[in-house]
């Protein structure tokens, strides 16, 4: 089905079948949640400051889970300012469909720009991560 291959490509499907950042870690420094009341999707993000490792507990669609996975890869080791920058760049990609060479595998979600109602699915983990970072900064 070529008409959907752009979005549901193997990189996304592979990540939802074999997630490498799913589950609640034993220890973490901050957490944040993203909810989409329109569809009931929910993502909970856990942040370990040491190396900015991210874990997520996701209940939702393939786009959201794949986005959480790719996000965890993409922000590993970055500081809050760098993560914010990356989030802005990612949101530009999913809103415009124009890939950003600096974003690597995150570009797999560029196709979501064609499905307006699904953009929120891709950005929800990033919103949750932003909340976790806020909490982390408050905790100092």
């Amino acid at each position: 089905m070529s008409e959907t291959a752009d979005l549901y490509q193997s990189i996304i499907m592979a990540r939802i079948k074999n997630p490498s950042h799913a589950g609640k870690p034993e220890t973490y420094d901050a957490e944040g949640e993203g909810d989409n009341p329109m569809c009931g999707d929910r993502v909970h993000v856990y942040l370990q400051r040491d190396g900015s490792r991210i874990f997520h507990e996701s209940r939702g669609c393939a786009i959201m889970i794949a986005s959480a996975e790719l996000m965890a890869d993409a922000v590993a080791g970055l500081n809050a300012a760098q993560i914010a920058q990356r989030r802005a760049a990612f949101e530009a990609v999913v809103n415009t469909g124009a890939k950003d060479p600096a974003l690597g595998e995150l570009n797999a979600l560029a196709g979501v720009s064609e499905y307006r109602s699904r953009i929120r699915c891709a950005t929800l983990p990033w919103s949750a991560l932003a909340l976790a970072l806020e909490e982390d900064q408050k905790n100092g």
Binding site: M1, E3, T4, Y8, G40, D41, G60, C61, Y115
Partner: protein, 412 residues
Amino acid sequence: MSAVLKPDHFDLAAIRKDFPILSQQVHGKKLVFLDSAASAQKPRAVIDAMVHAMEKEYANVHRGLHWMSERTSDAYEAVRDKTAAFVNAAAREEIVFTRNATESINLVAHTFGRAALKPGDAIVISEMEHHANIVPWQMLRDAHGIELRIAKITDAGEVDFASLDQQFADGKVKLLAITHMSNVLGSYTPAERLAKFAHANGAKILLDGSQAIVHRQVDVQAIDADFYVFSGHKLYGPSGIGVLYAKLAILDAMPPFLGGGDMIASVSYEKSTWAKPPHRFEAGTPAILETIGLGAAIDYVQAIGFSAIAAHERALTDHALNILSPLVKILGSAQDRGGVISFTMAGAHAHDIATLLDRQGIAVRAGHHCAEPLMGRLGVTSTARASFALYTTMEEIDALAAGLIRVKQVFA
């Protein structure tokens, strides 16, 4: 499609030509519209009636002494007669126009709920209600001190009368507010039996007919409904017009909902008095054009006839249940069910299913269908839902099945 089940006078090809939107393409594919339970498409007759009013006969209603206002008032009030006949109300005054079924329920909660119910009284709803038949009662509970109780449904998705018995046992229940057809499970509820049950227990009954009225003939007197609500836009009419039917004696005792023009008998700074029903409940300029559109929609479905519509949709539903069962998990298995089928697919989220189908031109709904508590009862967070209308074809259901096979391939 079985020829036996297809009434001779039900000309599906001609019916589809009546709905201009059905010939549209989506993503370069033929539109397969299976989301009519959310809102149905509009036949040419409805579109033309509204355009005609705007082009030829339009002014405000119940006010002007001029020709245009009189003609528009006549057209508007004629729809009240038509709607009364459509649901077999005993009197035209029993038909109140609202914006939609949601507003109708809010009207009842706000007026009947505060005037006729006392703190300590209870209202029973079922586990398969739309948010529209949950939240207004919660608001009444919190503002007015009534109790809100939930009657269980069976795993098949039918009313559990044993649970109803329990909820009514202490004699505090004064209103049973329940769907006539679930927007998720497609189950019909036994309206007449429920009304008899409520009345025998000293309670009134409100039926949410938003889904049911689209698919079968509703006779509020045969049901003995105290309140019956529905929306125009699911009945092939425009959005922005809904109906509240209530028995006249009940309406007569109800205080107004919104205040303003058209709902008064007299106004002074000291005191205003209220118009009689139905105008008491229609403050301000109503949805004139939408009401005229609703009238055209009622004419349209009645010209086809509910026996033909029901037979067609029965055949569609039977075919869909057969063809979809091996592909997906269908929720609910009520004996009496209509053309609303919710399903889940292992490993694939409802939104992914909907997006993948959309790319094939197939429109289904996905999510919690404004029925979050029911999702919890069914043990799911969301489902995909295909729903059928009088213009749905067997080929469209086959297209859905083919589409779902492709979804399965993506998620394999």
